[in-house]
Symmetry: C2
Subunit: 637 residues, 2 copies
């Protein structure tokens, strides 16, 4: 966006951030802010429904669609929704404090993903609170409490088919009478437009209606607390999945689950992770946990089984059959999640044993299923999952990449939180590093995106060779030999949070190479299965919990991403969490999730010999076949 080679460019100046960016006429103002690194809240992701991305146009012209999120008065003052505005001249744009409030809780994924979403949906959460002022009973009309309630509900439009959760009966009589027959009911929508009445409270409690959206990864769990009235993210958190103690990848977890009480222990571990995170989210947002009415999650198929307490053994036995791709209604407390008894789980549906709800969620969240473009969707994670297709067809596969890009199997690896080394370069003469960390905190470890950047630069500068081995001729204080082989010192103990040196070892690099080779072999095999080549790809969407400041060139340099034009790549951060959140915001999108799962064709790579060949060929930097990576091997960077 900063090139100067097109005819007309407008300058957008953001205050109080004091940042300039050049944009094309008609560019979306929200996208301009994102590109400029200026944070504007946009918890609905640009759908225009949350009204949190309000900005003030101090000078210049925008072309803006006005919604009811801005009052007449504010509109006259220059308030506009950034996501609904096009830049039509040079601008000075003020970001009001209210549009910045949530910065602390919004991850960088939000910034990136807000422009790359599923479109055409309406804000209509599957869990609704409805306030009813019932007619009190009298001697002439003393029908039962439940019938009176249902009659009151059915007088509203849209609630023709409502079933009742039996637990509703308990306390019903007192609740109805507590605030003189004024009550709020909570309704859970099903895929056939019917509803289930799941809770009743005295008085008007509509103001408190929150949902949780979770991406439950093999390594990391991310959760968001959502306000279902305003379509906003109130808080979010990340933590390690405590199942890690029972194995780093899904295969080892399946094996562990076969031990005595193994499935139960694995279930308890991930549920404990989730429960602690919920407590944290509730505390951050300062809400009542009893106002959480829904729990949506996306996870790979193995993790989904383990979370539910289902033995995943048949997932790894041919023909690799899950117990259920589409989950029936199950209550959260049934599996130990500490929410109100009435709260149900919704799981993004999975496709196959190794293509889970997380990938369906990503395809949903990014709107890949709505577009004509031939798209490759990549979820870089422990259970690397890929999808190829467009709105008409999709093929999918999973290539077990291992946990390296989430910090696992790396000596000083960590998930992408504060203190993770992410940005990296190395001085070509002194081999001294230049590092940047998340939150500019003291270094603590290396996250997935950092690993890519470090490996690429070390390879570029000749510190490591095509095999990922250190150049032994370069030994200096940074490149040294330890008891366990060669390593590169990224930071000395005096500079780190851990007071210990942070290093990258040759073993780390070898693990990373296996991971990237598995991913690359996965894309290649999937393309070959439908007679396509990398160059046919119109878009490559990269998702994952590995960190977001991934540098495309670096990822190509190490052979993780294919060597195609850079402008075809798009980062969406945690696509899985995005889809989970949208499924909590929109019944339409939730239903789309089911359609996506049913339209995907799964390719089993574990029994595919072509995949094995592709994998072996990719065990070099960038690849055994230099022709696959012309921009790298030509040194033309």
């Amino acid at each position: 966006m900063t090139e100067e080679n097109t005819e007309i460019k407008y300058t957008v100046h953001f205050v109080p951030d004091d940042v300039d960016i050049f944009v094309n006429p008609g560019d979306n103002l929200m996208e301009a802010a994102v590109a400029a690194g200026v944070h504007i809240n946009a918890s609905c992701g640009g759908a225009g429904v949350c009204g949190t991305c309000n900005v003030i146009i101090k000078r210049g012209q925008v072309e803006s669609i006005r919604t009811d999120k801005i009052s007449e008065r504010d509109y006259k003052k220059g308030f506009r929704q950034a996501c609904k505005s096009k830049v039509m001249s040079d601008l000075i744009v003020e970001i009001p404090a209210t549009s910045k409030l949530e910065k602390a809780v919004l991850s960088r994924e939000e910034l990136l993903s807000s422009c790359t979403l599923a479109s055409g949906w309406k804000f209509d959460p599957p869990v609704k609170k409805v306030y009813l002022k019932l007619t009190p009973p009298g001697m002439e009309d003393n029908t039962g409490d439940l019938s009176r309630l249902m009659k009151g509900l059915k007088q509203l439009s849209g609630f023709d088919k409502v079933s009742v959760d039996g637990d509703i009966l308990y306390g019903l009589a007192d609740i109805l009478r507590k605030d003189d027959w004024n009550v709020t009911v909570t309704l859970l929508e099903d895929s056939d437009n019917s509803f289930k009445l799941i809770n009743i409270e005295p008085g008007d409690t509509r103001a408190g209606n929150y949902a949780l959206a979770f991406d439950i990864g093999t390594t990391a769990v991310r959760g968001q607390l959502l306000d279902l009235n305003r379509g906003r993210i109130l808080a979010q958190g990340i933590d390690y999945n405590r199942q890690i103690s029972y194995g780093e990848d899904v295969i080892s977890r399946i094996a562990w689950a076969q031990k005595q009480d193994g499935t139960e222990k694995l279930q308890k571990a991930v549920v404990a992770t989730i429960n602690d995170m919920i407590k944290g989210l509730v505390k951050k947002a300062n809400i009542n946990i009893s106002d959480i009415t829904h729990f949506v999650f996306a996870a790979n198929t193995v993790i989904t089984h383990l979370l539910l307490g289902l033995n995943p053994k048949y997932l790894r036995l041919s023909p690799y059959v899950p117990t259920a791709n589409y989950l029936p209604f199950i209550k959260a407390h049934r599996i130990g999640i500490e929410l109100s008894d009435y709260v149900y789980l919704y799981s993004l549906p999975s496709v196959a044993s190794y293509v889970g709800g997380d990938i369906v969620s990503g395809i949903l969240g990014t709107g890949t299923y709505q577009k004509d473009k031939l798209t490759l969707y990549i979820d870089i994670g422990t259970n690397g999952e890929i999808v190829l297709g467009n709105k008409d067809w999709m093929v999918t596969a999973a290539c077990s990449a291992g946990p390296t890009f989430e910090g696992g199997g790396i000596k000083h690896g960590m998930i992408a939180t504060s203190g993770a080394i992410e940005g990296f370069d190395v001085d070509a003469r002194t081999y001294e590093p230049l590092i940047t960390t998340i939150d500019d905190a003291k270094p603590k470890g290396i996250c997935g995106s950092g690993l890519i950047n470090i490996a690429a630069k070390l390879f570029e500068k000749g510190v490591i060779d095509q095999n990922g081995k250190f150049n032994k001729g370069l030994l200096n204080r940074r490149i040294r030999e330890s008891d366990n082989g060669f390593e590169y010192v990224l930071a000395y103990g005096t500079e780190t949070q851990t007071y210990k040196d942070i290093v990258l070892t040759e073993t780390d690099i070898a693990n990373m190479i296996r991971s990237k080779a598995a991913m690359y072999a996965g894309y290649r095999t999937l393309l070959q299965s439908v007679d396509k080549k990398f160059i046919n790809l119109e878009q490559v969407i990269i998702a994952g919990t590995f960190g977001n400041h991934i540098n495309i060139e670096n990822a190509i340099t190490i052979g993780l991403l294919p060597d195609i034009p850079k402008n075809r790549f798009l980062f969406v951060g945690n696509g899985s969490l995005l889809g989970a959140r949208l499924s909590a915001f929109s019944q339409d999108l939730l239903n789309d999730g089911r359609k996506i799962a049913s339209m995907m064709t799964n390719l089993e790579l574990s029994e595919n010999s072509l995949f094995m060949d592709n994998y072996v060929a990719a065990l070099f930097l960038p690849h055994t076949n230099g022709g696959e990576f012309p921009s790298v091997t030509a040194g033309g960077k």
Copy 2:
């Protein structure tokens, strides 16, 4: 049936019972057997579906509808279904042993009720077992287990709308594989023709599909174990409702429920009663308790609340509102009933606080709602409930009669089980009694029907007067004065099971008079509310758990039943249990139960001054107004 004053009568001789009966041409053979006191199994109640009432026509002609319950070969041998046969000549009919087998477990109600049923329904239990031979998965078809199961089910007709109980997931994978993808699923039908998949078992388990039908009374609980494959009763039992310790009538139970943990204690008491009865039924029938797939019950509204653990307090506060007349799906184990976790409860719907599912059940079972005749349906019990109407309209009321007709509030009262004194007469000169007992066992106490017979005869013979007081001039060894007033000795301790004298006291008679007055005032007020008189009644159906050898004349003598022609009375025994059983046998009838509840108009007697006047006027034997009981006061008996 034994009068000789019509033109043609046929004689039906039953063997091996060696009993004759005269019937009209075209009379139903089953009804003839019932009238003759000959037992033939008819667990479906004459619907022709159970095939248990087979008899052999040894001589003579019947006009018979042949069903698939009789083979070609047996038909030629003279086998016919008694319930489907009309008497067309003098007959000799043999009851084969197979049609007698269940005698031990069939109560006398069954005999009586089998000819007085709802008609036009098909045998189609709401809980079905369906056997599926699924296609095993392969690499080309490795969809999830649950999807495979649902696909297999939907290939059968009639299962388009099936929802899945989330608990199904647990164990699903192993169950499917245990017998090579051959499984039996259990489906629970809902009122809208949709189904809920509630259980899955490996292999073909269709042979074991049993239901429980319970009538849960204030005083007595009756239960039947039903075979859902053959429409048969396998076992039945009766016991006291253990809630009796917390009060004899529903009003005192409601009061008790307001104490600390009161509702919970009352719930536990009745659930314990039910659990013990279930154990007994299962043992008697020698089946696996895990093959019980359904639990249907009928109870009055207060007992229904207490069984579910719902505080009944609003039932006795104006405007007398139940928590729910129509229950949503609730699992049996949710309330402590010890059946498989997947078993759901079905409750016959109630109408109002004091007009419960038991009365709806009786109207259902007797087909009163299908007929043109103006019918008075009376359930003589602790919570005396009455219905007046026909297929077009129904009004209903409850008149708290107290427990006397179920043996409560009577010094030596008991429920109608073995040893209860039921038949009674008294020698006009010596005042010595003539008693008969249930099962001809040694006397143990007095059941409700016995109480009526005893009081009527004592009144007729002048032992007690219009006020129910003993004639003090008659003192002899049978009529004596005790510490608590006068009493009549029915049996001396030397003759009884209890080794104590069994007596009827003046207090007993006073309680009985209050009970019968409440019932009578109830009918009268209900008739007055729709401008009808007793003489307009075309049929009076009498139900209740008070015993069945009730003598109509005796009941009229004491003023319990109105003084109208005897042939308009019909006894159906436990109508509530009958309706519960039929609701387990037929989804159509189950749905009819909901219609019945919705068409009933409830008249609250507790705030009705006319009822009070009628009650006070009825506190005599038979009534203060002799004109109400011409056949009694004329002494014309």
